[in-house]
């Protein structure tokens, strides 16, 4: 009797909403852990750059926001029939180009804030933060925005609603691509 009560209580909690939120979150946070693992791999290089921990959260947040809004715009345009599901067309090219302007502007603003905070709070001037921000933002945007466009249109062509899937997808890939781009930028500097 007690087991039956527990079974029905559990069934009431683990409904469709629970399963959808749970599965999306598992995917999203697993990607975050993988990104954290990659950070641990380059830890010795990160520690050589003061202020990088101030820059990092904003940079990863930026990646998710840019790709998320790009895939949302594409998804909506596909849903309402504004565009056809073609990979190369004026709408996708214009939006792809626009993301570069957005990401460069914000990444350099973040680098400026990290530079100023590091200088005034910790007494260290780190001009290389700007170069790291520039390289990491360009590389990550090239990869991540391409992935966002290709995946959104691919999902739509197969009859799925990209708006239901792209959220956790761009969060996961954004973190991993962001950290990999940062790795490349630090290695080049």
């Amino acid at each position: 009797m007690a087991y039956r009560k527990l079974h029905w209580k559990a069934k009431a909690i683990v409904d469709k909403n629970f399963r959808e939120i749970f599965s999306a979150e598992i995917i999203s946070v697993t990607g975050g852990i993988l990104a954290g693992f990659l950070l641990a791999v380059i830890l010795d290089k990160i520690l050589l750059i003061p202020g990088i921990f101030i820059f990092l959260p904003g940079f990863l947040e930026l990646r998710g926001n840019i790709s998320g809004s790009l895939s949302a715009r594409l998804g909506t345009a596909l849903d309402i029939g504004k565009i056809k599901p073609k990979y190369i067309q004026r709408f996708t090219i214009e939006n792809f180009a626009a993301t570069f302007i957005e990401v460069l502007f914000v990444a350099l603003a973040l680098a400026a804030i990290a530079f100023l905070l590091t200088y005034f709070l910790f007494g260290v001037a780190v001009p290389s933060l700007f170069l790291i921000a520039l390289i990491a933002s360009l590389v990550s945007n090239l990869v991540e925005s391409s992935l966002a466009i290709l995946t959104t249109i691919w999902l739509f062509k197969r009859g799925h609603d990209p708006n239901n899937i792209m959220g956790p997808y761009v969060t996961t890939t954004g973190d991993i691509v962001g950290v990999l781009s940062l790795m490349l930028a630090i290695w080049l500097i």
Partner: protein, 173 residues
């Protein structure tokens, strides 16, 4: 503008991380946790805000929100999920740090899981409270709560998760 503001707010949280950089560097599972915790709390901010707004528009929440069965169910669902995911995060960060050859003892594993749980529970509760108070305030003024709640809770999640994480690491390690 919102994009710039959201990213800048995360940078403020990064000040806390920079201050505890040496402790995080010394204990790898903490570093592995950072992006995932930040993502998770941000996601819950969006989920709680949008679901609360939906309940408002459906008329399922009136003046006495604490008597709403639907709100209680939402709270139960999201709290349960967040606590499962917090445990999953803690254990996965330990697993990946072991893959890197980093050794941990039982006390350290408990500390990592405790940080994950305390941070998740505190912020999910705070976000729920902020969503209810702000959402009702905005709704009564005939505005769409989504426009205010989502940026507000996302900003709270971003700054809150990193600063609370920094405080917990400073206290426990």
């Amino acid at each position: 503008m919102i994009l710039v503001a959201a990213s800048i707010l995360s940078t403020i949280g990064g000040i806390g991380l920079e201050a505890i950089k040496q402790k995080v560097a010394f204990f790898i599972p903490l570093l592995i946790l950072i992006p995932a915790l930040n993502d998770m709390i941000g996601d819950f901010g969006t989920i709680i805000s949008s679901r609360f707004t939906t309940l408002l528009f459906e008329g399922k929440i009136r003046g006495k929100w604490w008597k709403s069965k639907e709100l209680a169910k939402e709270f139960g669902t999201i709290s349960t999920i967040s606590l499962f995911i917090a445990f999953y995060l803690g254990m996965l960060s330990i697993f990946f740090s072991l893959l890197q050859g980093f050794k941990v003892n039982t006390i350290e594993i408990l500390k990592v899981v405790a940080i994950s749980y305390i941070l998740t529970a505190s912020l999910v509760l705070t976000i729920f409270f902020v969503s209810i108070v702000s959402g009702l305030f905005v709704y009564k003024r005939k505005k769409d709560p989504n426009n205010i709640l989502i940026p507000l809770t996302t900003a709270l999640a971003d700054i809150g998760s990193l600063i609370l994480f920094s405080i917990l690491v400073w206290l426990l390690f």
